[in-house]
Assembly symmetry: C2
Homo-oligomer: 458 residues x 2
């Protein structure tokens, strides 16, 4: 066995022991918190002229895992990791070992076809059997950016060549829930459209866009001489997990000839598990991704190749070469089947409902609203504050509770959950229960632990 | 041992045997070519309601590896993979198993500090000890897009909010070598600047930008009433591996107050091994990444956290959460040290020179030019064409030679190299020799094999 092979074997054992077994063991810590200053010392970060021995490198691997947050731990709820999935983990090891990128069929034949198979299956499930197209991107922000760019290209293909200089002021709409702090605004900034041209549409008290308010904003933009072109509806908002009323919004978009993009949360019922940009079902859009993003690199996309070059997908993307992420999804889907995927989603949503019911019953805990989805938002009121009347003083004090509990849970390493404000509401906890490995006991533990960490606060 | 654990163990054995050992074994094929239609059948792609057994899933893993191109094989030269690196492979397995994203320190403390350490070391090496900033992106196209966006933000920060509508026509410059088909144009399209506003600067016969021609193009843009703001210089062009004369270009940029971006090829001497967007050294730019890209998501970037939130890097990026790719580089660097990295680069460049010398000596092979870098471009002229006079007929025939040889090498699986045209030049082979594991024998083999596969062509 070569030295390299021996190192790989030893490292794999470390990975299985530390990053798989211990990282998912409820008896272990979720995190081993260190301040940046302390962690810098512990990790021995300096890069030098000389190299280090394999045994030292193995120690660095152990440290990297040890001080990393265990996002697969059953008591990790900070955001949007859903437990350890052995099939997708193995698939990701394969794509890293095989080390290829998606851009031409000749370089990534297997993963090109697998991405195609996953996309086709997803389009079939939502009823777009023909004429759809899609692409896996590095994350939801990028996917939303693609959507805006495609909508703009459809609205006026010339912008690709001549820029926005002679274009009218283009206006986009999204609910106020996601307008201020989110990827639609990032896309508007990057694409030269301007964040001020993202019009925030009022939402109701559950966080859903109000269709009549959308129509008013469209009229407003028109009256200002601007040109509406894009509406973002969200299926599963970040904070409350709200679903915008897509049917009504679609009718408005049709009436006003606007592109409707539905931003599907990264964990949505059934098979929308990965964020994906699936385009509207018309023949017109079949080649839109390609036409919108192509730059025809001569060293990659030769037209005199000996195979069907429509399998070369690199020109559909902004990046050109992409990681073959779809393989992770494909292998997991193949191993579990659609039914088991659905069962897992159902189970996680049932756990979210259980958490909400339990919060409702417990003294000192207050739900912000009944969840319609995986997001459960609530306040914890320490005993000393429970007698205070509802009002500014209580809110001001309550606002400081979650950050302190968060600090304490990180420092004990017992669990991780997120907190935030919303509008004028003081800091509250926000748990997104999407890990199918989570049990009722884990959720009970979370509430017990919040009380135990925060009961002295005043 | 649980079933999941057993599956992981078995899969890891498959990965080591098939994707590590066989994939780098010179006795094995570089690729097992199948047409898309045939490969579809072989892979059994369909996703069903029911799941499949672990033994079937292992077979899918084997097939995925078997039919994937072996980019780490010593006879793979198609483009831009540089052999198997055990340390970076192990690091990538760790980031996949630990499953985290870079956006806040609390979720990715280790990888946040490691990215910071790698960036600081790289800036130190190029002499920017203070005030620089940087970020690892998913690829060079994205990095160039960031550069254009930052330059635009510096030129006029208001564009982020109000868009390009009242802005003057902004013009970018890059050499004709990379203007037509490349990421700068993709960025211009995406950012709403327009591909026509990328002015192609003539290059010399070695593919280097001509500084006086840049100055002329800047004057031209000004005379049209447009506003130059960005110059892209390339260190290692795609086709010829040419280095634009950065010093002279920098003087011009300074004189005209233009942002100079140097697009460093993904494999450049010494430590520029990853594409990286390192900003100019002034205090002004310290927070530019953040100001340009921030959207201040309330659920991630709370300002009342208990640690120094300048470690939360998510708002520096367009994507928000990113894969912790820097760890791969950090672990490899730690294991090998700067000296060994340099030696490997030197070795690869020496091999590129060897290839060029050998091409020059062999009958029927013609170098396009002496390489200054890792790119070696040459024609192979089959015996039947060797008597033809230089002229359109020879060129027309020569143009068809490389595609046929490429098809044959893919179908035998003996090696993979790329071909392309350039300007009015007929198809030629382009090899980028960046794999330090490649030997002289491998390079001799490539030339022998080209002759053997193409000697009957006429």
């Amino acid at each position: 066995m070569s030295a390299a092979e021996r190192f790989i074997h030893e490292a794999l054992e470390v990975i299985i022991d530390e990053a798989v077994k211990k990282a998912t063991d409820v008896q272990e810590k979720v995190c081993d918190w260190q301040s940046p200053e302390k962690l810098r010392e512990l990790l021995d970060l300096e890069l030098k002229d000389g190299g280090e021995s394999d045994s030292k490198i193995l120690q660095h691997c152990k440290n990297a895992i040890r001080y990393s947050v265990k996002t697969s731990h059953p008591r990790f709820f900070n955001q949007l990791f859903a437990g350890l999935e052995p099939y997708s983990m193995v698939a990701s090891f394969i794509t890293e070992a095989v080390k290829t990128s998606l851009y031409t069929y000749e370089v990534a034949p297997v993963f090109t076809l697998m991405e195609d198979a996953v996309l086709k299956k997803m389009m079939e499930l939502i009823g777009w059997d023909e004429g759809g197209d899609g692409i896996f991107n590095p994350g939801g922000s990028m996917s939303n950016m693609y959507a805006v760019n495609l909508a703009r290209y459809r609205f006026c293909p010339d912008i690709k060549e001549v820029g926005l200089y002679n274009a009218p002021r283009l206006v986009m709409f999204t609910s106020q829930e996601v307008s201020g702090h989110y990827s639609i605004s990032k896309a508007a900034a990057l694409l030269g459209l301007g964040t001020k041209n993202v019009y925030a549409v009022p939402s109701d008290d559950r966080g859903k866009m109000i269709p009549s308010a959308l129509e008013e904003k469209i009229e407003l933009a028109r009256s200002e001489g601007a040109v509406p072109f894009f509406v973002n509806a969200t299926a599963g908002t970040t904070v409350f997990g709200a679903f915008d009323p897509v049917d009504e919004i679609a009718d408005i978009c049709e009436r006003h000839s606007l592109w409707l993009h539905v931003d599907v949360s990264s964990f949505t019922h059934s098979l929308f598990i990965l964020r994906l940009n699936v385009l509207r079902h018309t023949v017109f859009f079949q080649s839109l991704l390609q036409r919108c993003h192509s730059a025809k690199a001569s060293y990659l996309f030769q037209q005199d190749k000996f195979y069907d070059v429509s399998y070369d997908t690199g020109d559909k993307s902004v990046q050109c070469s992409r990681k073959p992420d779809a393989f992770k999804f494909w292998l997991m889907w193949k191993a579990l089947g659609s039914s088991e995927l659905e069962r897992r989603v159902d189970r996680a949503l049932a756990m979210a409902r259980y958490l909400a019911q339990t919060v409702k019953k417990r003294e000192g805990f207050h739900l912000l609203m009944k969840p319609e989805y995986a997001n459960v938002c609530f306040w914890y009121v320490p005993p000393a504050l429970r007698g205070l009347p509802d009002g500014p003083e209580l809110w001001r004090k309550l606002h400081t509770v979650a950050p302190v509990i968060k600090e304490r849970m990180m420092k004990t390493g017992s669990m991780m959950i997120g907190y935030q404000t919303h509008g004028d509401k003081p800091n509250f906890f926000r748990m997104v229960v999407i890990n199918p490995q989570v049990s009722k006991q884990d959720l009970d533990f979370v509430l017990d632990e919040i009380h135990s960490l925060g009961k002295d606060l005043r």
